[in-house]
Amino acid sequence: MTTSLTTFSLSYSSTDYLLALPMLLLTVFALGILMIDLMLPQQWKRVNAITALIGVAFSSVAVVKLHLVYHAAEKQGIAIATFTGFMGSLVVDRFAIYFFYLFLMGAGIAILMSMRYLEIEHESHGEFYALMLLSVVGMMCMAAGYDIVLIFIGLELMAISTYVLVGFLRRDKRSNEAALKYLLLGAFSSGIFAYGLSLFYGLTGSTNLGQIAQKLQEVIATRPNDPVVIFALLTTTTGLLFKIAAVPFHQWAPDAYEGAPTSITGFMSVAVKSAAWAMLLRIFLFGLYPLRSMYVPLLIFVAIATMTGGNLAAITQDNLKRLLAYSSIAHVGYMLLGLIASDGQTNSTGIMAIMIYLLVYTFMNLGAFAVITSLRRRNIIGDTVDDIAGLYFKAPTEAILMLIFLLSLAGIPPLAGFWGKYFIFLALIQTGHYALAAIGVLYSVVGLYYYMRIANSMLMRQPIDAEPVHTRPAMRLALTITAAGTVVIGLFPNFFINVTNWSLGLVQGTQHMAGMLR
């Protein structure tokens, strides 16, 4: 992008804090939970979860407030308003607001899923919820950051909180192992990422994405094959691909997903992943846009490898969480296709596809993990394909909901998951990537196979244990929200398509992110 951010003020003002209000509120609540937790007796620990939910609600109200300010500004004739603060490092634009909603929704549902689960695991501590809220603060920084320093700080805040959450089941070896693996690989990749960013800083003399883009344009114009640029691009890309768990940088995901508390697995697979995508889109589409012709071939290779690796590895898994981990890797492969197809300049369908994919993925994947969470009962870990056998006989409602989530993940219309794939493939067709589209759809058939393995086990086999499956009201609420999201977005996607278009600054009919902030 050649246009850069020109309208940021060099001094702090009170509006800066309004922009940061969603994050500030979450921080306050996170710290509050830590303090309240000290005073709570063991049987009252559920108050922490409720406090966390209230924090999410407050933060959501703040986002709605920002949203309304937008509308007000746009009514006054500003075509597409953007608000920047903290000397241009924080940009709350439509894109950011969309992701704010996504993170808060994911966090809210994951909190609902965690309440009973933690009691069964005897790990009902306030830190759990505090860390979740703090990781959301980190995510918001990643989505709204327009400065690589802020983005990196957000990333680390999110990542460190998640490392702890993954290892939260102290007595469980798998959880400890997962946390350690995740920490080591995560820290390693953050290091590589930071190294790449520092090279870009060295090349361009700025940490602001807009200015980086501007300077890179000049660098590329004078030295088209500068090895430093290539090296910086490679390291940055590696770091980003690590975070979204794309093959060949995906090895941490199955282990971390399997070991983490199930509700955190769900949280990681949607909110953490969305945040990584927000960061990736910001950096690739804004800061590194001049290098697009260099990174697209790289992404094509990674996308094909990711779809192949994710789908084929998922076939043989017997652990549900591992299976869904590989399936979420495969989904990343499809989403990468969207980034390959669209540059946000001549065509935006692919970007819009990624956004809507993340939205529907939040509902359907969290829903699937919610069902798996409810399988955790006294003495039964309940996360293998055998554990879910005959679920229909024990809990018909959960089984049918799981079927809906699985079909949605497989992309069967008219469920939400179809829409993500639909726009990805539309973008590929629009931009003439027919071979990639064919590969993508064929892998989605493979995907159906392993999702239906779960469905087969659930609906067509006899249960192997007699332990009944009960769900508490909180879990039922989580299931209701996710199922409603999956079905409603599937049947009536128009509103959600429009929301996604809005978040990208797409006015209906135009096909590129014309006015969007650069």
């Binding site: 069967i412 493939f425 027919y434 159906l448 196979y449």
Partner: protein
């Protein structure tokens, strides 16, 4: 009601499914009654369509159109638009009839998870009807895929010993075809946008732009659609899912699978492949390729049928053979071949549906389908044996019954195009007689050797009730097929005129009916019937398809049907 008849037909089963969900699952008899009532109601509400559609049968394009383009998802240009022409009308009637019959046939066969069974069955019914009604490519695709789920569950939950394998195989095969088709649809959608600047899935709009795709792209697209439909039909190399699915599915599932689901493939070829890519369909090597596949299916299916030890598998492979006739008729690309093909699809639904019911009845009594287990059944179950004989005759194409009319018309249509093709198809008819008669001999004739068969009960009233409508329709089509050909005449002639603008004897009435379209290459069946009175005028008498070629000594139903059309208001009463 008149204006919303299609929606009513479409959603009646779904309403039944929702109501059933509210019934407690222990109350099995109530569930069965409600399921059957809605099964029958689904058929009953489709009955008014017969006189109503009959009055409009000579209009070109879709009738009873409901909804508007873009009214469902405006941002992508998709709408809830449904409408029918003669081809879809017949298939819808077949679907509602077979739906009611299969639900009735499941009364005793399904003892476990009864509630779910009826719920999924009714959902399936809505899905299938939607496929035949949709006038919006996207809506079509949604129904096409959504319908797979209930069928997968019907096979997987209430199926035979290898049900899991069969269910997943069915699902994967058909999904494989439909995802390629999705890419094809998206290409047409985008191509329409490139030409007109509008994003829409509205079928008549796509009819206008899709044929303008040329060169390699058109061939690739044709095959993207073709694979999707060929898997569903199933045509020869894609047929391996069918025996597994049929054998493992519960009886009613097999009836619907053979009777209706397979027709979606042939329907898709007629409704989409031909009018979207007329030039490709007429490319000699493409046409020959498809015809050769059909001929292989006819002969190979029949030969494999001969060798089966399991009755249900025999019937399943016979479907491959019969559907080969249907695709042969489609790609003969003449009015006779096409109308014969559609009629043969109906016939196959009637007779093969009945054959699966017949096998199901023995299976319910003895829990085996091994042919060797039976013998001399006609001594213990005389009524059953009679019905079976009628349906076997119908399936093998004996004159006076429905199968003959369809197969003969197809062969006639093919013969007029290419004598060699027809010659290769004829052994299929002979082999059909061979495997069916041999099966009949082994199962029904001779003494009762197996003591287990001595006490078999003949058909109950309910079972008889499932056969009677099928027998009536089989005789009706066999004795008086004229109204069926009259219904098919307009859409089929329009289609042939679209694909082959130079086809003798058709171009004139076609263009008279559609004065809007001066360019025959882009000629498409129009969405709205032109209101001008002359469009209602039927084809003039003596307007045969190929004057002088049709053999006069044999019954040539289409010719006579068309010739008598103007002078036969008496037939209007059906």
């Amino acid at each position: 009601m008149y204006n919303h008849i299609l929606s009513i037909i479409l959603f009646t089963p779904l309403v039944g499914a929702v109501l059933l969900m509210l019934v407690p699952k222990e109350n099995k008899d109530a569930i069965r009654w409600i399921g059957n009532i809605f099964g029958f109601l689904g058929f009953a509400v489709s009955l008014p369509l017969i006189p109503w559609f009959w009055a409009l049968k000579d209009r070109a394009g879709f009738q009873f159109v409901e909804g508007a383009p873009n009214n469902w998802i405006p941002s992508i240009g998709s709408g809830y638009v449904i409408g029918i022409d003669g081809i879809s009308f017949l298939l819808i009637m077949l679907t509602t009839l077979l739906g009611a019959i299969s639900i009735l046939s499941s009364w005793n066969a399904i003892q476990e998870r009864v509630k779910e069974y009826y719920v999924w069955f009714l959902v399936l019914q809505t899905g299938m009807l939607g496929v035949f009604m949709a006038n919006d490519m996207f809506l079509f695709f949604v129904f096409w895929e959504a319908m797979l789920v209930p069928m997968y569950l019907l096979i997987g939950i209430w199926g035979g010993p290898r049900k899991l394998y069969a269910a997943i195989k069915f699902f994967l095969y058909t999904l494989f075809g439909s995802v390629l088709m999705l890419l094809g649809i998206l290409f047409l959608y985008f191509h329409h946008h490139t030409l007109t600047g509008v994003y829409t899935f509205y079928l008549p709009d796509l009819y206008a732009t899709a044929p303008k795709i040329g060169g390699h792209a058109a061939i690739w697209l044709f095959f993207a659609f073709f694979v999707g439909f060929a898997i569903k039909v199933p045509m020869f190399p894609f047929h391996t899912w069918l025996p597994d699915a049929h054998v493992e599915a519960p009886t009613a599932g097999s009836v619907i699978l053979a009777g209706v689901l397979l027709k979606m493939g042939t329907y898709g070829l007629i409704r989409f492949s031909l009018p979207f890519f007329p030039a490709v369909a007429m490319t000699p090597w493409v046409r020959q390729f498809v015809i050769v596949l059909s001929l292989i299916a006819i002969i190979y299916g029949a030969l494999v049928s001969l060798m089966q030890k399991d009755m249900k598998k025999l019937v399943a492979y016979s479907s491959v053979s019969h559907l080969g006739f249907c695709t042969l008729g489609i790609f003969a690309l003449s009015p006779l071949g096409l109308s014969g093909s559609v009629l043969q699809q109906i016939n196959h639904g009637i007779s093969t549906g009945a054959l699966f019911l017949i096998v199901g009845i023995l299976y319910e009594r003895r829990h085996t389908r091994e042919i060797a287990e039976y013998g001399g059944i006609s001594n213990v179950m005389p009524v059953y044996a009679t019905i079976t004989l009628i349906m076997f005759m119908s399936s093998m194409g004996l004159p006076l019954l429905n199968g003959f009319v369809g197969e003969f018309t197809i062969l006639q249509g093919t013969f007029m195009e290419n004598k060699v093709w027809a010659a290769w198809a004829v052994p299929g008819v002979i082999l059909a007689a061979a495997y069916l008669l041999w099966l009949y001999q082994r199962v029904f004739f001779g003494p009762v050797n197996n003591p287990k068969n001595e006490k078999l009960l003949d058909l109950s009233g309910r079972e008889l009730a499932t056969f009677i409508p099928l027998v009536i329709v089989a005789f009706w089509i066999g004795l008086y097929p004229k109204p069926f050909f009259q219904i098919l005449a307009t859409p089929v002639n329009n289609l042939v005129a679209t694909v082959r603008p130079d086809y003798p004897g058709l171009a004139k009435p076609m263009l008279a009916a559609q004065p809007v379209n001066p360019n025959p290459e882009a000629a498409t069946p129009l969405p709205e019937p032109p209101k001008a009175p002359e469009t209602q005028k039927p084809a003039t008498p003596g307007d045969g398809q190929k004057p002088g070629v049709a053999t006069k000594q044999k019954p040539a139903p289409v010719n006579t049907a068309k010739a008598n059309l103007a002078a036969a208001p008496a037939a209007l009463g059906k």
